[in-house]
Symmetry: C2
Subunit: 444 residues, 2 copies
């Protein structure tokens, strides 16, 4: 059933961690159906990794080995290089440039590299009619790069947003489920493998920002602008915030969000990653654990939701091999499979970053304050002076250690800059025992 006369697509894999091994495992397990769908076999011919002799549960003894991974790009017997090394620069980037420069295909799961160098790589790909694909770089096994590049291609998107970091989502939903505080859940997540030993990129929102910058470029047809992403992570979120949010009918999720708005004659792009309060009826509120989800709103499609496993060797391998099948279906010397970012790099627009302060939002504000008279009056006066209208306010009755109490409030909808101004009026006040936490409420 699966014989085919066409020559197989020959691939080289750089990096044999869990994802690299997962790709080999997938190619072996689903070999027949992949051959049927790709129209030809997909064969691993060469590999490179840090250590050659290590038990990975897959046999690499029959494959060519390169100590220097960049050499994979020079091999005559390789059509496509699969880059699973990671790191925005260094060897991964050198390998990717070399492969595309020689007209070979490149499939990568490297979100940091694509966020920082995606346009430069796409230019090389376009100049050499080489396919460059990175479905696995965003939201693991969810085909959302394809979804935006091809599924919603007829639409002017107004907004793309979602939950793009499984580690943060696991931590927040565990905090919600157990009532435990951040540090405790993070430690548990590390033990269970849901967080890396150094989770900085995840919990500070950088990883989600990499992915958002990639989705923005594809969704809005604009140049990647990772540096313009406003990023705040989840480290400041306390168990008490989650309890307050719950009492108000919300859950807390790290939301990556990009939209395009007209400002005068300009179209401007706003990209942000930050914890938000999400109303319990919203589709993203029920996204728990390491699951990812992306919402895209198009001017004809309306709101579309893509949801699934955001990480893990199986889902990531699924995305890598889907890219390989796409390439196998259409790639030979005479063909290409379109622009990596949907529009050729030279024609991507260059949207200037929008000013977030003009946006209208409802906001959750949490202060930790000294338990003494007059503090509430001081805070509410600052709100009044900055034109922030308070919808509800809760002062936690029970004092915490050291006489510290929590004051949480939700504002009516108003310009963000008013909240910023109110906070600046309170800056330096010795009533506050720490920096206030500001969480926007995700609009429906």
């Amino acid at each position: 059933m699966t014989e085919t006369s066409e020559a197989p697509l020959r691939i080289a894999i750089a990096g044999l961690g869990t994802v690299g091994v997962g790709v080999m495992h997938l190619l072996a397990t689903n070999r027949d159906l992949i051959t049927a769908r790709a129209g030809r076999g997909i064969e691993v011919v060469a590999v490179s990794a840090r250590e050659r002799h290590k038990d990975r549960g897959v046999d690499i003894s029959t494959l060519a080995w390169e100590d220097d991974m960049t050499t994979l790009a020079e091999r005559e017997d390789v059509d496509v290089v699969v880059e699973l090394v990671g790191g925005s620069d260094g060897p991964a980037l050198a390998l990717s440039r070399a492969a595309l420069g020689r007209g070979k295909g490149l499939v990568t799961a490297n979100k940091a590299m694509v966020a920082h160098h995606g346009l430069a790589l796409a230019e090389i790909a376009e100049a050499n009619t080489a396919p460059l694909k990175f479905e696995a770089a965003v939201a693991g096994g969810i085909p959302v790069v394809k979804g935006l590049r091809e599924g919603t291609s007829a639409n002017q998107l107004t907004k793309v947003y979602g939950i793009l970091n499984g580690t943060c989502n696991y931590i927040l939903s565990e905090m919600e489920g157990t009532g435990a505080d951040f540090d405790e859940v993070l430690a548990e997540a590390k033990r269970l493998g849901y967080a890396e030993a150094d989770p900085t990129f995840d919990i500070e929102g950088i990883d989600a920002a990499h992915k958002l910058a990639i989705l923005s470029a594809i969704g809005f047809g604009t140049r990647i602008d990772f540096d313009a992403v406003h990023v705040s992570g989840i480290v400041q979120v306390r168990a008490a915030d989650i309890a307050q949010a719950d009492a108000l009918g919300f859950v807390i999720r790290l939301i990556a969000e990009a939209d395009v708005q007209e400002e005068g004659d300009d179209r401007r792009l706003l990209q942000r990653v930050r914890p938000c309060l999400v109303a319990r009826g919203h589709p993203l509120a029920s996204v728990d654990g390491a699951t990812n989800a992306v919402v895209a709103e198009g001017n004809f499609s309306g709101r579309l939701l893509f949801q699934g496993a955001g990480a893990g060797d199986g889902p990531t391998a699924s995305a890598v091999v889907a890219d390989l099948i796409d390439i196998a279906r259409s790639f030979d010397s005479a063909r290409d499979i379109g622009a990596p970012f949907s529009i050729p790099v030279a024609r991507l627009s260059d949207l200037a970053p929008a000013e977030p302060g003009n946006r209208m939002e409802r906001t959750y504000l949490r202060f930790t304050v000294n338990d003494r008279p007059g503090v509430l009056a001081e805070i509410t006066a600052a709100m009044r002076d900055a034109d922030v209208s308070i919808e509800s306010l809760i002062q936690q009755g029970r004092a915490r250690e050291g006489g510290e109490v929590l004051v949480a409030m939700v504002t009516h909808e108003g310009p963000e800059r008013c909240v910023t101004e109110a906070l600046s009026l309170l800056e330096g006040s010795d009533s506050l025992t720490g920096a206030p936490l500001v969480l926007p409420i995700l609009a429906n």
Copy 2:
């Protein structure tokens, strides 16, 4: 920004109802970005519809007109025919065959035609290297045909299921929200345009079955087998069932579901459309109104969810034009864009239908019975004799008109055929005032 030296893709539209007009409106509104993404313009050159002179809100005076739509396929100046006429046979099929037979592309929103004749059309397409695409035939604006054909292509799928009919979902969620009975909500749905004047195909589950048969073929790589779909609609669902389900923690949704299971050495396909009880925590339970959603479970990807507007001129036009952009990107005389069903027709497998009776399920059963002693004993004895184990049972206290009461129960998990047997034991019993309603409980 959007100039391109490539010749435009020239299309003909057959059928100028709301979707046809929606496609023209979309092509005009989003012209620049479509040109940028497609790499060339997409231009309507000819149209055909029942009435030439009718105000549709779009100007067709500059376009060629054909009274006989089949002639569109013969025009030298047409690259792709867009079929929006509907009907599984007749003019739509004749036009589609003619277009593909001449090597022209075909884009269609016609689920009935694809469910019945998709393989025959795909054979013509493959023989003539002509693209055949039908994203708009399933789940409106949700790119789920692409999602299964390309997004999950690396996976052996175990299951594809979802909510594929917006009319039924609107009716069920309205019944849930208002407590009103079926007939009342259907009448309201017709008034609001959520149900057609003749809603038979929708409310009896045929429309969902058409879509399921298409998704099965793509997802499992098997020949379309519409006749093998077990179908039951929502006409029997009463307000009382929705209230009972609610009390038990469930909502009722019309679920289309296909899976492949091993039976001995065989792989067999089971396709069913039926109202199910869906636990409130399940992602499909929160799919309300005319929204559609599809879940695909792959052996590496895990569970993926695609959700969005299942109908309407905007979303459907979005899907049609996405197909056109795909074709414009890759279609010329020397290229093709792969097999319409992901695998060439000759290599699709031919999975025999599975026997549903062997499936293990929990089931909701509702009886309408005469309000007299001994009825409950009769029903529970039949359950016992057929080896059906009862998890919970509710007899509605208040008698309805004519002394009729409702008895509702949920069974423990067991083979479906035991429930069927229990019902056959009760057949002809004069305790029952009507046919019992059997609703499976959707597994998690």
